[in-house]
C-alpha cells in the first residue's frame, strides 16, 4: 500500500489540522510505513498522549485504543496501562514541552522503571499549539513569543538526558531523513524495555516564522546541516563540529558522548 492508502486504512480522518509543512505529517507517514513494514496494524498498538500538537496525532487520527491525558501525563498513564495488561503494546506520543518540561519528571523515572513502552517525542523546539512560547529544547538565542530578545536558557539534549539517567534505547531522527526515520521507528517498536525516540521536526509556523525559516524546506535543509549521521559525526574535524548534533540509535551515554566534541 502507498502512504495515501495507509492513511485511508489507519487514520480516522484524511485531512489533519496541522499547519502546511508541519513535520508531524512526515512522522505520521513514517509511522504508518513502519507499522505496515512490520506486518502489523495500527490497532495492534495502544496509545497515550498528553497535550499539544503532537498529542493530536494519535488522539485525533490513529484508529486504535488511545487515552488522551492531561499535559505531560501520558507516560504514567502508559505505565499504568502496560503494567495492568502486559499484552498491550503501549506507545506514547508527545512533544518536547509535554514530555520534557511539564512531564520531565515522569520521563526520567520511566527510564528508571524500564517499563517496556515506546515514547516518541516530537521535538519542534517550541510550544506550537499555545502560540509559540519557549520550550525546554528551544535553542539559545531563538525568538519565541516569550523570549522576544532571544532564548537565554540552555536547552535540553533529550537523547543525552535519557541516556544520562540510564536509558538503554534512545534514538534521534530528523524528519529531513524520512527513510531513516522509518527504520528508526521500526527498531523502536520492536525493541525491549523502555524506548525513547526524539523526532526532530520542523514547525514552520511558530518556530520558523520567528527565526528566519518560514518555509518547511529551508527548515529541513537546516536539519541536514545540523544533524549528522554517526559516520559523518565520527569523521568531521572536531573543530568544525560547532553547534551540530548527531542522529541514530544509542544504547549508552558514553557511545553518544564520544560522537560529540568534548565540552570545554
Amino acid at each position: 500500500m502507498n502512504i495515501q492508502e495507509l492513511r485511508k486504512l489507519s487514520l480516522r480522518e484524511q485531512r489533519t489540522t496541522f499547519c502546511p509543512g508541519c513535520g508531524f505529517e512526515t512522522f505520521i507517514n513514517c509511522f504508518l510505513r513502519a507499522v505496515d513494514d512490520l506486518g502489523r496494524r495500527m490497532d495492534d498498538y495502544t496509545f497515550t498522549e498528553g497535550i499539544g500538537c503532537s498529542a493530536w496525532i494519535s488522539n485525533n487520527y490513529f484508529k486504535a485504543d488511545n487515552f488522551h491525558t492531561a499535559h505531560g501525563r501520558a507516560i504514567p498513564a502508559a505505565i499504568g496501562l502496560k503494567a495492568a495488561n502486559p499484552q498491550l503494546d503501549v506507545i506514547t506520543i508527545g512533544g518536547d514541552g509535554d514530555l520534557a518540561s511539564i512531564g520531565g519528571n515522569h520521563l526520567i523515572h520511566a527510564v528508571r522503571k524500564n517499563t517496556p513502552i515506546a515514547v516518541f517525542c516530537l521535538n519542534n523546539f517550541i510550544y506550537g499549539m499555545t502560540g509559540g512560547q519557549v520550550g525546554p529544547t528551544t535553542p539559545l538565542e531563538s525568538i519565541t513569543s516569550t523570549t522576544v530578545g532571544g532564548n537565554t536558557e540552555k536547552p535540553f539534549d533529550l537523547v543525552k538526558l535519557v541516556l544520562g539517567v540510564g536509558g538503554e534505547h534512545a534514538s534521534r531522527y530528523p524528519t529531513a531523513y524520512p527513510h531513516l526515520l522509518v527504520k528508526g521507528i521500526k527498531r523502536a517498536l520492536v525493541a525491549d524495555g523502555f524506548r525513547f525516540m526524539e523526532v526532530v521536526s520542523q514547525c514552520p509556523r511558530q518556530y520558523g516564522t520567528r527565526n528566519q525559516a518560514s518555509a518547511a524546506a529551508s527548515m529541513l535543509a537546516q536539519q541536514k546541516a545540523v544533524y549528522l549521521s554517526r559516520e559523518k559525526a565520527r569523521n568531521i574535524d572536531r573543530g568544525e563540529f560547532g553547534d551540530r548534533s548527531v542522529f541514530g540509535d544509542f544504547d549508552n551515554l558514553k557511545e553518544y558522548l564520544d560522537l560529540l566534541p568534548t565540552e570545554e
Binding site: M1, N2, I3, Q4, E5, R7, K8, L9, L11, Q14, R15, T16, F18, C19, P20, G21, C22, E25, T26, N29, C30, R33, D43, T46, T48, N59, N60, K63, A64, D65, N66, F67, H68, T69, A70, R73, P76, A77, A78, I79, G80, L81, K82, A83, A84, N85, Q87, L88, N105, H106, H109, K113, P178, H179, V182, P204, A215, A216, A217, L220
Partner: protein, 471 residues
C-alpha cells in the same frame, strides 16, 4: 517507465515539500490557483520518478504513488470495516468469596483499606509515600505480591493517579492512597477521571494543614476539596467512615460505586482512623460490582436516560478514544460546540444525582424529637455520638446526623429534620467547612464548632457545648 502518481488537490496543503524535496524534480507548480489560495501542484515528469517515496512521506496525504488496483484496496478497506470487537458482554453485580477467612480480625484503619480493596477485586495500586497513609502503600506492596495484582511506587502523586487511570482503562479496578499535599497534586488527574468517566478510588487520609501542617495529626480539612477541588467541578461521590469496621465496609462500597457510576470515588479517612486498631468482622462472601461492557455500544455519555455507558477495556478491539477534552459519545473531541459541552457536564452530574436517594447513607440518633441536631462526619461523628447520648441522659433534646456518604450531600434528609430541629451544630476538625454546606440547605440557626488543632475532638467538649453552650 512512467510512474503512476496522482495528487488529490483537496488534501494538498500548499507546503511545497513535493517540489523542493523530490531529488528528480518530478513535480511542478501550475499557474492555476486552487480554492485554498495557493498554486496547484502537478506531476510534470513521471518518467523521471524512481519511486523513492520521499514525496509521499512528506506530504499531508495528497500524493498517491503507485496505488494498488482499486478492487484490491477496496477489499482491504472492506475487511477493515467488518472487524468487530473481540470482547464479550460482561459486568454487573456478583458475589465472590472473601480473600480473608471469615471471622473477626483486629486491624488498623489503613490495614482495613488494604484488605477491603482486595476483597472488592482491586488488582492495581500505584502510590507515593506520605504520612499518615504509608501503611496502605506498604500493605498493597506486600499483598499485591501475594495475590498476583500489580503494585507501582510512583515518582509522585501526579504519576500515581495517572497510573491508576491507565490501569482502569486496561480493565482493572485500581486505587491510590494519599494525604493532603498529595491529594492536591492528584486533583488534575481526578478531573480527567470525571471527564473521561474512569472508575477509580482515591483514599485521602486527612492530616492537619494547610501545607505540610502536622503530618501525623488528624484533621478533616479536605472535606470541600474532595468535592470541589478539581477544575470543572462536577459531582463527586465522597465517603467518610467513623470506625475500622466502616472503613472496611465502605472501601468495598467505594469500589462498587466507582464501577457502577464510572467515576472517581473519594474515600476519606484521617490521621486518627488510619492508625486506630479495633475489631472488624469479615463475612465469607462479598458483593461486588464490575463495570458493564456491551460490545459495540458508545463508550461515553451523555446517554439519553443519564444511565452509565458501556465501558470497554483497551484491547477489546473497540478503538476507544478516551479524552479529557469535551467529546461526543464516541469520544471524538468537540471543543467548540456549546451544546455538546453543556450537555456533557450536566450529564456528568445527573448520572450520579439521579441516584441521590439511594446514595443517602446516614447514621441517625434521637432525631425524632430533637431540637438540636449535631451534624458530624467520620471520626468527629464518633465523638459526637457519645456526647449526644450523654446529653440525652441529662434530658437535652439533641440528636445526631452522621452522613457516611458525605457527597452527594443528603440535602433532602437534612431539610426534613427542620420539622423539629431549630438548631444545627457542626463540630469539625477544621475551621469549619461542612458547616457552610449545612447552612446552604436549612433556614435554621447553624453553629460551627471548629477545632483545627490536629487533635480529635474530645467528646466531653461537644457535650459541654450541648449542655452549657460553651465551646
Amino acid at each position: 517507465m512512467p510512474r503512476r502518481i496522482s495528487i488529490n488537490h483537496d488534501l494538498c496543503r500548499g507546503c511545497n515539500l513535493c517540489l523542493e524535496m523530490c531529488p528528480k524534480q518530478v513535480f511542478q507548480e501550475s499557474s492555476e490557483i486552487g480554492a485554498a489560495g495557493f498554486r496547484l501542484k502537478q506531476v510534470a515528469l513521471p518518467d523521471e520518478c524512481t519511486a523513492c517515496g520521499l514525496c509521499e512521506l512528506y506530504c499531508a496525504g495528497a500524493i498517491s504513488l503507485e496505488p494498488l488496483p482499486p478492487e484490491e484496496f477496496a477489499d482491504i478497506m472492506a475487511q477493515e470495516e467488518r472487524r468487530t470487537s473481540t470482547g464479550q458482554r460482561r459486568g454487573g453485580w456478583k458475589e465472590v468469596d472473601s480473600l480473608l477467612e471469615p471471622g473477626r480480625y483486629f486491624m488498623a484503619g489503613n490495614e482495613a483499606i488494604v484488605e477491603a480493596a482486595l476483597a472488592a477485586g482491586c488488582e492495581f495500586f500505584a502510590g507515593y509515600p506520605i504520612t499518615p497513609a504509608n501503611e496502605i502503600l506498604e500493605g498493597m506492596s506486600r499483598r499485591m505480591g501475594e495475590t498476583g495484582g500489580r503494585f507501582i511506587q510512583a515518582e509522585d502523586e501526579i504519576a500515581s493517579v495517572y497510573m491508576i487511570l491507565g490501569a482502569s482503562w486496561a480493565g482493572l479496578k485500581a486505587f491510590t492512597a494519599t494525604s493532603g499535599p498529595g491529594f492536591a497534586l492528584m486533583q488534575e488527574g481526578l478531573s480527567l477521571a470525571d471527564m473521561a468517566e474512569i472508575p477509580c478510588v482515591i483514599v485521602n487520609v486527612q492530616r492537619a494543614g494547610p501545607s505540610t501542617g502536622q503530618a501525623t495529626r488528624p484533621a478533616a480539612m479536605d472535606m470541600r476539596e474532595a468535592r470541589y477541588g478539581s477544575h470543572g467541578g462536577v459531582q463527586r461521590i465522597v465517603l467518610y467512615p467513623d470506625s475500622v469496621q466502616e472503613v472496611f465496609d465502605m472501601t468495598i462500597e467505594a469500589f462498587n460505586l466507582a464501577e457502577r457510576f464510572r467515576t472517581p470515588v473519594i474515600l476519606l479517612s484521617d490521621g486518627y482512623l488510619s492508625h486506630l486498631a479495633e475489631k472488624v468482622a469479615v463475612s465469607g462472601c462479598v458483593k461486588v460490582f464490575d463495570r458493564i461492557y456491551v460490545p459495540g455500544r458508545p463508550a461515553f455519555g451523555p446517554t439519553s436516560d443519564s444511565s452509565v455507558p458501556s465501558m470497554p477495556r483497551f484491547g477489546d478491539g473497540e478503538n476507544v478514544v478516551a479524552t479529557g477534552s469535551t467529546h461526543d459519545v464516541s469520544g471524538k473531541r468537540s471543543t467548540t460546540n456549546p451544546t455538546v459541552q453543556e450537555n456533557l457536564v450536566f450529564y456528568l452530574n445527573r448520572k450520579i444525582l439521579e441516584h441521590r436517594e439511594e446514595l443517602v447513607d446516614c447514621e441517625e440518633l434521637f432525631l425524632d424529637d430533637a431540637e438540636t441536631a449535631v451534624v458530624a462526619f467520620g471520626t468527629v461523628g464518633r465523638s459526637a455520638k457519645w456526647a449526644v447520648k450523654e446529653a440525652r441522659k441529662l434530658g437535652r433534646r439533641v440528636g445526631l446526623l452522621r452522613p457516611r456518604i458525605v457527597y452527594p450531600f443528603p440535602s433532602q434528609r437534612i431539610k426534613e429534620l427542620c420539622r423539629t430541629v431549630n438548631q444545627f451544630v457542626v463540630p469539625e476538625m477544621s475551621q469549619g467547612q461542612m458547616v457552610h454546606v449545612v447552612s446552604e440547605k436549612v433556614a435554621r440557626d447553624v453553629v460551627s464548632l471548629p477545632q483545627p488543632n490536629g487533635q480529635i475532638i474530645d467528646p466531653r467538649r461537644i457535650l459541654k457545648y450541648l449542655v452549657e453552650g460553651v465551646w
